[in-house]
């Protein structure tokens, strides 16, 4: 299928278009794109914008699978346009559409605000009683590699929305927060530096919790970063049930202590000092 000589082939991009200001309903439009080995879907979209139709809208930024902006339906799966090879998913016709389960801002731009709202309700940040004190000082919190491992993979989430668009429960139940917010809720709940169980309990134990998940597992299968939100949701259920039965370890866990100064490791040999600040201090800015 792949032309190894690098000569161009043509693939029809069947793109879902919709401009809410003038179109009564979404429709599909075909664009013929010359494709070479190594081209990703995002390259095809840029070709369309530069040569065929400058009005085509989508969202993208980093082009390297880091920012999570270019999540869209490619063929029959939600994926990132910047790391999906065109010739891996299509030989003649490639269907490109905005992520399902979200509203459409325009063309391939989904309205991700419901996901971000649900995400913020999960309080996705470290919570501790001594937080103000920590923010003032230059303190270090102690965390072992094993404790880091518990949440590390969930911290790779780039909030692209692919898991949300693959989730059958999000598709039918608008009150279900979805895999992305719940996985992040678990990520912070299980972080040994966090002490926010009391604050999170009311959110996670109610309708905003993981209780409607059917464990279809589609969220985990489509995640472009290899995060397993399905697993996070099941682990979250376990933690919350153990907490309900007063058997959870989190209930009696104290957040990780500050590392005493004498135990701090100095700079290792061969590692250079950080360069001087290039941004002026706030006071200087105001004064200047």
């Amino acid at each position: 299928m792949v032309d190894t000589k690098g000569t161009a082939r043509h693939v029809i991009f069947r793109v879902r278009r919709y401009n809410p200001d003038k179109d009564p309903a979404p429709f599909y439009e075909d664009f013929t794109v010359p494709v070479e080995e190594g081209m990703v879907v995002l390259d095809g979209l840029w070709y369309i914008k530069e040569h065929l139709d400058a009005t085509l809208a989508w969202r993208s930024s980093c082009r390297m699978g880091v920012c999570g902006s270019c999540g869209m339906m490619i063929g029959s799966r939600p994926a990132l346009a910047c790391n999906t090879q065109i010739l891996d998913v299509a030989s003649k016709v490639l269907l490109v559409a905005p992520l399902p389960n979200f509203g459409i801002v325009r063309d391939l731009v989904p309205d991700l605000s419901p996901m971000f709202d649900a995400h913020s309700r999960q309080m996705p940040y470290i919570q501790r009683d001594d937080m103000p004190e920590l923010m003032e000082g230059n303190d270090t919190l102690w965390q072992s590699p094993e404790e880091l491992e518990k949440y590390l993979q969930f911290s790779y989430c780039i909030k692209c929305g692919c898991c949300m668009s693959a989730c059958p429960v999000v598709a039918t139940d608008v009150s279900y927060p979805g895999p992305q917010p719940l996985a992040q809720g678990y990520r912070y709940l299980i972080d040994s530096r966090d002490g926010g169980l009391e604050r999170r309990r009311s959110v996670l134990s109610g309708e905003e919790g993981p209780w409607r998940c059917h464990y279809a597992g589609e969220c985990s299968s489509v995640c472009p970063k290899g995060v397993d939100p399905g697993r996070a949701i099941q682990l979250l259920k376990r933690e919350m049930v153990l907490d309900y039965l007063r058997l959870g370890k989190l209930r009696c866990r104290k957040p990780a202590p500050k590392l005493p100064p004498e135990k701090r490791r100095g700079r290792r040999e061969g590692i250079p000092e950080a360069p001087p600040y290039t941004v002026k201090e706030k006071e200087e800015k105001v004064g200047g």
């Binding site: 429960v169 039918t172 139940d173 608008v174 009150s175 309990r201 009311s202 996670l204 134990s205 109610g206 309708e207 919790g209 209780w211 409607r212 259920k237 919350m240 049930v241 309900y244 039965l245």
Partner: protein
């Protein structure tokens, strides 16, 4: 908070169904294999009248049936509630649905309990 309690009970009810249904299957179909002749003293046919009367007189059997009925109804109706909840996010609809399913569940439990207790009363009368 309420949803977590309901879901935990749902899982606990599922486990209880497994245990109680296992007991029921053992008593009704595996007496010869498991050597439970005390449950069916008149032979291996669990539906023989003498065996039915004997089991009906055992308070533990009646209680296990009542418990099985309760946990199976809760487990099933909570699952049905979850499915029906996906039809709409309206709070009024969900409240109505929860109450309706609660009424249906209690009604079915009362009806099933009446049948189990009536069977026990018949067995006690037949044995006396």
């Amino acid at each position: 908070m309420r949803e977590r309690s309901l879901w935990t009970l749902h899982i606990a009810a599922g486990l209880a169904v497994l245990v109680l249904l296992g007991l029921h299957m053992a008593v009704m179909h595996l007496t010869a294999v498991l050597g439970l002749s005390s449950m069916n003293p008149a032979g291996h046919d669990p539906l023989a009248w003498e065996n039915v009367v004997h089991r009906g007189q055992q308070i533990l059997i009646t209680l296990s049936y009542l418990l099985l009925l309760g946990v199976a109804l809760y487990h099933g109706l909570y699952g049905l509630r979850n499915i029906l909840f996906e039809l709409t996010a309206s709070a009024e609809y969900r409240r109505f649905l929860s109450i309706a399913l609660l009424v249906v569940g209690v009604g079915m439990f009362v009806l099933g309990s009446w049948a189990a207790l009536a069977a026990r009363a018949t067995a006690l009368a037949a044995g006396s």
